[in-house]
Symmetry: C2
Subunit: 458 residues, 2 copies
């Protein structure tokens, strides 16, 4: 593949133009009024796959946003790679914190700034262009399928059924995904573990309507105060989650495994500086890497209640709400955690209020072995580009669908992520470094090459 | 005053038309974009006072919204009554909970529904019409002054200086105010105590921007979780406020005084049913009436942080905010409480976050004696209308300006409120019963009569 770098050089401007077209479609999956943008983005992906060389590509209906399926079947004897990605993005709010409009990509300081620049439009697009390159230069050595969904950011509620209904069509030797980060720009890594997720929304109702806080304050329980107390009680002084049974299924790592993990490079001062905090905090007895990699966590993702505009309004609010999510580790089942949470939340509510807790979405964690052909092929591809072997890491994030792929399709996934932790995905000013984008374009084609070679040798 | 009821009958429709004109002006003092409405309401009040018989009325500038001053000086030997009221109202949000538009008054079930129907436009207006009646029928026996402000709902920030600057003009024997409630439609009461207020806004900042809750959750303190924990820690298991020094100046009542208070009729079941709660809650060792009447309280009036729209966004938010106010009892000074709160809030913040706490507004509590001529005149006026003596009660609400009047002008106030606790002031569907409105119109003229008679006898 001596021509790879030259091909990228010659086509780079066009690549960006194409990617920017996709980014400009505000395909926010959680917003009901964005439905037309979801179809527009799906059609765009379909057209792009056909143009890049797919024999066939189609927008397939699901119970929710559509899935784009595409394929290039070259030789029945060759191994088949199924590329997974998602064309949907997180909401861009709060808009006023963006330096440039979230759906108008802008290059500054060698980075693309936009919602979806990385997650996952930018990373997914590297696969489209690697596919184009290998086909145009007659170097493709695998059959390739694409499954590009539109509901990843809302927990892929329709993809399970889609996989069940399309098992035959989706058969492959490996699923290839770029939707994660690597340790640093010069330190490649392959994500071998992901956390699961259980995302809840709770409502606490006190009085039937907002009350005057002077006339009633002190004699009627305030649902915001009560919600704060309930949330506070979900963690103890060691930052251990207090929901009964929460840790029952947590996979405890051996001292040896923990020592292995501790060998991954990690600069605590740089970590703190990057996100502008004075001190890290988390479960007692675990390192920062362990707290996100192998331990579950609980975060309030949003809270609201009462008067939140400028100035003072002296009310005792009727209702308080919060979105609370838990990241889960392998063996914790999100459905069980969801039930434990609801039971605990309802049982600890004082009689002075009514509470509701509902499950919004979730997924299981995942652990990938490192002794598979696919892992070795990915490792060698990174080594070819970076000159060093990538480090296997457990990520704190969740791609719930990865464990679903294994359960429904029986296929393992390889998580070749080229993002950086500083890319601010899910945040204002999400960005994707042009350098990382380039490195992805240089690395992915080698995965196909090595995967085919290693498969053939076996 | 045999003609009083007849006069009201004949003019009632016009009274409502006039009041509705005022209600239709959305004079929300806390909103910066309502400035023109504040002037419009002030001009309306000035014109009305002149039309109702004032010799002079003027809109006077302050550092904030204007004060309307009016007077009718009939005889230098007569006592002078200064009527206080406010033409500003609370914000009407959330609009979608109103059954009819907040600034379009509507009569349903014998009640006027609108923002300001009671607080304070409706109650203040009873004074304008009592003034009109007494002048038109030549039965006025006092000199009358009016001071109608436009900043009561934001803590009357400009009225202190206004009183300082206009001490001479405002000289009077008593200040008469209708801006409180009575116990029930058949149980008149006079408010003899008010709580003070210290209203704070706090901000907790964690990471410099919103983070992905999967990649960081568990290793970085979440400012919403931290804020909840800080708020939870402000009360102990007995609902005692934990801010060091908070209770130092609280006036403790004697057992005898508490027994006196307990004689006021109070139906706990009706109270709970009215606001739709299963159980009351509050400081251990005190009754519901005591919890709002003689004990301080702490309420979160609003809280917000992170993602609060529909659906799920997996962020670890950068910031969390809350509006927290404390109701104070006599002898607690709001400036001291404000300092204690800020010191405590800052000192309990973990090093993983930064906190800011600022004072929005406040005022002192007030206690009024019952052995004054003014109290006795008000008591007799109620008795004339209702056939029973009114009960002196301590209200949980705050009218910070009442204690300021005493300190700056040296004048005691009489709080002749005709509201009911069910009027939902400060809430959606604020209302004022036509029956209460009528009873106010029937009672207030007698105050002037008895006050002049009792003063003359002294």
């Amino acid at each position: 593949m001596d021509d790879l770098k030259k091909y990228i050089d010659e086509n780079h401007d066009r690549y960006l133009e194409e990617l920017f077209e996709l980014i400009r479609i505000p395909s926010v999956s959680s917003k009901e009024d964005h439905k037309e943008h979801m179809y527009k983005a799906a059609e765009w992906v379909k057209d792009k796959l056909l143009k890049d060389g797919a024999d066939k590509a189609e927008v397939l209906e699901t119970q929710g946003h559509p899935v784009v399926y595409g394929e290039k079947m070259l030789n029945p004897d060759w191994p088949t790679v199924l590329v997974y990605g998602h064309y949907d993005v997180q909401p861009a709010e709060p808009f006023d914190l963006w330096k440039s409009p979230p759906f108008e990509p802008e290059i500054r300081d060698g980075k693309i700034f936009a919602r979806g620049a990385n997650d996952d439009k930018g990373q997914m697009f590297m696969h489209f262009k690697s596919f184009e390159y290998l086909l145009k230069t007659n170097q493709m050595t695998c059959n390739v399928k694409f499954m590009i969904e539109g509901e990843e950011e809302i927990g892929s509620p329709s993809l399970g059924k889609f996989c069940e209904d399309n098992k035959e069509k989706l058969q492959a030797d490996v699923i290839l995904v770029s939707d994660t980060s690597m340790i640093g720009p010069d330190t490649p890594s392959i994500t071998t573990g992901l956390r699961g997720l259980a995302y809840m929304e709770v409502e606490v109702t006190g009085p039937g309507h907002d009350l005057h806080s002077g006339l009633y304050g002190g004699a009627v329980d305030n649902p915001v105060n009560v919600l704060c107390e309930m949330i506070a009680s979900l963690r103890d002084e060691n930052n251990h989650i207090t929901i009964p049974g929460f840790y029952d299924d947590v996979l405890e790592l051996s001292d040896e495994e923990r020592a292995d993990m501790a060998r991954a490079p990690f600069d605590l001062e740089a970590f703190k500086k990057e996100i502008n905090i004075e001190e890290v905090a988390g479960e007692k007895g675990y390192s920062t890497m362990e707290r996100t990699g192998i331990r579950p966590s609980l975060d309030v993702n949003g809270i609201w209640g009462g008067y939140t505009e400028k100035g003072a309004k002296t009310i005792l609010p009727s209702k308080a709400h919060a979105k609370i999510s838990m990241r889960l580790v392998p063996h914790q089942k999100h459905k069980k955690i969801e039930q434990l949470f609801i039971k605990h939340f309802e049982s600890m509510a004082p009689k002075s209020v009514k509470v509701k807790a509902e499950f919004l979405h979730g997924g299981e964690g995942y652990v990938s072995p490192t002794d598979t052909v696919a892992y070795q092929a990915a490792s060698k591809a990174f080594e070819t580009t970076y000159g060093i072997k990538p480090i296997p890491v457990r990520s704190g994030g969740s791609i719930p669908i990865i464990s679903l792929f294994e359960n429904v399709l029986g296929i393992k996934s390889i998580l070749m992520g080229f993002g950086l932790d500083s890319d601010a995905i899910h945040s204002p000013n999400e960005n994707y470094s042009l350098n990382q984008f380039r490195k992805g374009l240089e690395t992915i084609p080698y995965f196909y090459k090595y995967f085919a070679e290693m498969k053939a040798r076996k």
